[in-house]
């Protein structure tokens, strides 16, 4: 999909905002393919704990990654009742399991700042930067890192 300059700028600065353990986070709209409500998720035995399982996205099998697990947050109870953001990375789609999906925000230029040096891992590993909103801070997540944490 090609867009002309102004639209591309908007897309570039647009983020899907979501909640993870009361922290507001954002994923770039350009990497988001879908937002899913509660879905039946098939557990995958022997998979690492941050893999919630796999789900059927309109005939396509998508692996679900539990972002709470990946970010070292306390489990949110039942994975089946939570929402997912489907992100694409290197041609593969993954469903990122989150507590809630909020809205799409276009962030003003200059509102973004690099990670504060004191941001602890694993947040520092998965965060691209922090954005100062009026009332609260938004952590900008890196979808590629979330999907392949070992890739640098």
């Amino acid at each position: 999909m090609r867009m002309d300059g102004s639209d591309a700028d908007t897309i570039e600065n647009s983020y899907v905002t979501l909640m993870l353990a009361d922290q507001l986070c954002g994923l770039p709209v350009s990497s988001v393919r879908d937002i899913l409500g509660a879905q039946p998720i098939t557990r995958i035995p022997l998979a690492p704990p941050d893999i919630a399982g796999s789900l059927n996205l309109r005939g396509r099998i998508v692996t679900s990654i539990d972002l709470r697990q990946r970010l070292g947050l306390p489990p949110a109870g039942d994975a089946q009742g939570r929402m997912s953001v489907v992100a694409e990375h290197a041609g593969e789609q993954y469903a990122l399991l989150v507590d809630d999906v909020d809205e799409v925000l276009t962030l003003p230029e200059g509102a973004m700042e690099p990670n504060p040096p004191t941001l602890p891992p694993p947040w520092s590993l998965f965060s691209r930067g922090v954005c100062r909103l009026e009332k609260r801070l938004l952590i900008l997540l890196d979808p590629g890192r979330l999907i392949h944490p070992e890739a640098r």
Binding site: T42, S54, L55, N56, G59, I61, T63
Partner: protein, 843 residues
């Protein structure tokens, strides 16, 4: 018409059409080097290919045109009007010849001297000083008339809705190319994926519809369902290609090898039209080539050696392919010297694949399977042809990767045959849906041999040797993997469970599951890259109800439970399992003393308890009656001659070889451990191999072969007469359960799905010692077909019958059946086979 020729015609017709437009373009822009290169290449391709196929007229015209174009390419001449005209005239002539070829299958008669003369004259009058090269140019040496294959282009598949060969009634038709369309493989793959998705969606829809009674969708849904199935089948067909495509290079290869090695070799190919999925085809191309190369290089002897052995000087390699159920069976057989069993045995010992005692206890069939082990190559010197380090292990790995299996049989001086079983397609497979620990899984049905119910309500139960679960399955101990344990799932609440008996490579493995649902056709989808390390799964799929389930890979499970490296096939195996040689499963026991002793578990056929009262005295020592036969009991330590003084019960390890059995009486069975078999001290005495530290304790390793051959003369000699009897079992899935029974009795077993399949085998030259037919047809058509003519006329033919009136039995015998046996009565079957086969030997 020859398939090669048909392909050539289609390609050439396309090429000529392209040539016309390119020539016209060149005429308008004589300096266009890209177009010139295209024109030159098109003519060159036609010339080159018809040289292969032995088409002298076409070749001569193409050659003349190519020479002329060569001068343009070399810059000594410009592509002016007369030149273009001459090449176009040549193109027209070629088209006429191709049309004649398509009509009659041979080049039409005719003289092209005038046309070629014109072209040559044009060249002679060249403004450039370039001398005319003598004709024919060296590049166009007379083509060998051998039936040489042309390699089909690798990327595009030729889709042939109809055979490309025109029917005889077709008039001169310049449209040879119109009957086939070249389609990029990606398009077909995409269509296949879409068809798979459609099937899944259809299944979902059907499931929803079933839950709503009395709706209006029933009829259109039925129609949709039918069309979806047809579509899927149609798309599958577009990807099907004759296996001959993977063979096309072989005649040439064999011809070249034959000259290079100075051995006359004949290559016979049967069933080249057998179709399979192109993806599978691509994957088996290299293994097949490698194996044929091996046959020519190693197996076939030089002609003088063959003559000395009383064989025809010309060696023969036979390649056959047949459909069987959802599989294709490919066989590569030669009539060469056979595999050098002793050299393989020595090499296996040298490489440390097994201990000398284990090797001594193995049958020839087991020994020759070492050629499939990684790092094995027996070629004494590296020849130019093979022996470049890529061995049969690579072949085996490649074949197993696509869900196939490979086996080998060999007979010294008579030849070797490799049998490869491969699935027709990789995209859609039949799978058994099972449940373990509350989750559902799919198991590809290709490897599933049978289902056994275990638990309190069943005669079969899972037994423990210490912590190792095993199942007594007829005459074997079947190693088990409990899916709930393996996958770390919550244990089942019910004791009623099932064992899915799966074939893994050559060994058997039982998977314990909680429930078994139905079989489903599933579309295998690859697992996400971040989960590829989970080797117990072979993929995932979406079921009809829309849920995602994981597909289990029995090979991966076998590796996870340490059963890898199992090279044995149940057909000939006297023992149920072969565990990884590097980490052998060892049975620890005590016999005559406090010290521990160990025996490799795979050598033990069964574990039994023998009661004191069942032991009898005979001249040769104690014996007991075991399954209707007398079994000799071997005691390691001196025991009282009178069995009455023995303990109330004695554990006995039962060993079986062919149809011979013997029991080794021990005091106590302690455990089964997985450990490295690392013999540390020399033999401490006769009957011992040495000592090893097993599980942290010093343990004597028992030399089973020593004790068995000391107790029973000829223990190792009997395998030829017994095990080499080959049976054909006709009846597909209904008789699958008999295969392991017969194999355990020492027979080689092949199966055919139905009577037609059996006849195909016969006509393909397969030979057996007896044929067993499950519930033969009432009309006696099959038995007549066998008895009236053909190589199987004199074979023992045994009918496995259900409940049949006595009068019918009489009729059947009169029709030619050697014997009629109730299918369920295995003892009776064994007797019948023994008597039928011994009668043949006597005859």
């Amino acid at each position: 018409m020859d398939e090669l020729l048909a392909d050539f015609l289609a390609e050439t017709a396309e090429g000529l059409a392209e040539l016309d437009t390119a020539l016209l373009r060149l005429e308008r822009a004589p300096g266009d080097t890209a177009t010139l290169a295209l024109v030159f290449r098109l003519v060159h391709t036609i010339k080159g290919t018809c040289g292969f196929l032995g088409l002298p007229r076409l070749e001569r015209v193409a050659h003349a045109a190519e020479n002329l174009l060569g001068e343009v390419r070399d810059g000594t001449r410009v592509a002016d009007g007369p030149l273009i005209g001459a090449v176009l005239a040549a193109a027209d002539r070629m088209r006429a010849i191709v049309d004649g070829l398509a009509r009659d299958g041979t080049e039409p008669a005719g003289d092209d001297g005038a046309l070629v003369g014109q072209i040559e004259a044009l060249r002679a009058g060249a403004p450039a000083p370039a001398p005319t090269p003598p004709t024919p140019a060296p590049a166009a040496a007379p083509a060998p008339p051998a039936p040489v294959a042309v390699e089909a282009p690798a990327a595009p598949v030729v889709v042939e809705p109809q055979a490309a060969a025109p029917a005889a009634d077709q008039a001169v038709d310049p449209q040879v190319a119109g009957q086939t369309i070249r389609v990029a493989v990606e398009v077909l793959d995409h269509l296949m994926t879409l068809a798979g998705e459609l099937v899944l969606t259809r299944n979902q829809l059907l499931q929803v519809a079933r839950s709503q009674a009395g709706h209006d969708f029933a009829v259109p849904l039925q129609r949709l369902s039918q069309i979806t199935s047809d579509l899927q089948e149609g798309v599958m067909k577009t990807r099907m290609q004759p296996i001959g495509g993977a063979w096309s290079k072989l005649p040439r290869l064999v011809r070249d090898l034959s000259q290079e090695l100075g051995k006359p070799i004949e290559l016979v190919m049967q069933g080249a039209a057998t179709e399979l999925d192109r993806q599978v085809l691509e994957l088996i191309r290299d293994p097949l080539t490698h194996m044929v190369r091996n046959c020519a290089d190693h197996a076939i002897e030089p002609p003088d050696e063959r003559r000395a052995a009383g064989k025809p000087a010309v060696g023969k390699i036979r390649l056959t392919a047949v459909h069987e159920g959802g599989h294709i069976i490919v066989q590569i057989a030669d009539d060469g010297r056979g595999l050098p069993v002793e050299r393989i045995r020595a090499k296996a010992a040298a490489l440390g694949f097994a201990t000398a005692a284990e090797l001594a206890a193995m049958s020839e069939a087991e020994i020759i399977r070492f050629i499939f082990r990684a790092g094995f190559s027996t070629a004494q010197e590296v020849t130019a042809v093979s022996g470049r380090g890529v061995g049969m292990d690579v072949v085996k790995t490649n074949i197993e990767r696509i869900g196939g299996a490979i086996d080998v049989r060999s007979e010294a001086g008579r030849g070797t045959s490799f049998t490869i079983k491969i699935p027709l397609t990789l995209a859609i497979v039949a799978a058994l849906v099972v449940q373990a620990g509350g989750e559902r899984f799919a198991i590809p049905q290709i490897g599933v041999l049978e289902l056994v119910r275990v638990g309190p309500g069943s005669e079969n139960k899972v037994e423990l040797i210490h912590d190792t679960k095993v199942l007594r399955l007829r005459d074997r101990l079947l190693p088990l993997a409990d899916l709930t344990d393996l996958l770390q799932l919550p244990p089942a609440d019910s004791e009623d469970r099932f064992v899915v008996v799966a074939q893994v490579g050559g060994a058997l493995l039982g998977l314990i599951v909680d429930r078994v649902f139905d079989t489903e056709e599933i579309v295998v989808k690859p697992i996400a890259p971040i989960l590829r390390h989970l080797s117990v799964f072979g993929g995932n799929t979406i079921l009809g109800d829309g849920s995602v389930i994981m597909i289990l890979d029995p090979n991966g499970i076998a590796r996870a439970v340490g059963l890898a490296g199992a090279e044995e096939r149940p057909e000939e195996a006297a023992h149920a399992e072969v565990l990884d040689m590097e980490r052998s499963a060892l049975l620890l026991m005590r016999a005559g003393g406090e010290g521990l002793m160990a025996v490799p578990l795979r050598l033990v056929a069964r574990l039994e308890q023998v009661a004191r009262g069942d032991v009898e005295r005979s001249a040769g020592g104690p014996v007991t009656q075991y399954r209707g036969r007398l079994m000799k009991l071997i005691t390691l330590a001196p025991r009282p001659a009178d069995p009455a003084e023995w303990p109330a019960h004695s554990p006995v390890l039962v060993f079986a070889r062919g149809r011979r059995i013997a029991g080794l009486v021990v005091d106590e069975i302690i455990d089964v451990v997985q450990d490295q078999l690392n013999v540390q001290l020399g033999a401490a005495g006769p009957g011992l191999l040495g000592s090893a530290v097993i599980d942290g304790r010093a343990t004597d390793l028992l030399d089973v072969g020593y004790h068995l051959s000391a107790a029973i003369a000829g223990w190792f000699d009997d395998e030829h007469e017994q095990a080499s009897a080959r049976l054909l079992l006709v009846g597909g899935g209904r008789v699958a359960g008999l295969v392991p029974v017969l194999a355990a009795a020492g027979y080689g077993v092949a199966t055919a799905n139905d009577e037609a399949g059996a006849l195909r085998l016969r006509d393909g030259g397969a030979m057996f010692d007896a044929v067993l037919v499950d519930r033969p047809d009432e009309s006696d058509g099959f038995i007549r077909a066998l008895r009236d003519a053909g190589a199987w006329r004199g074979l023992p033919l045994i009918a496995l019958v259900g409940r049949v009136p006595a009068a019918r039995l009489g009729q059947m015998r009169a029709a030619g059946w050697t014997d009629c046996v109730p299918g369920g009565d295995r003892a009776l079957l064994a007797d019948s086979l023994a008597s039928c086969l011994s009668a043949t030997v006597a005859a």
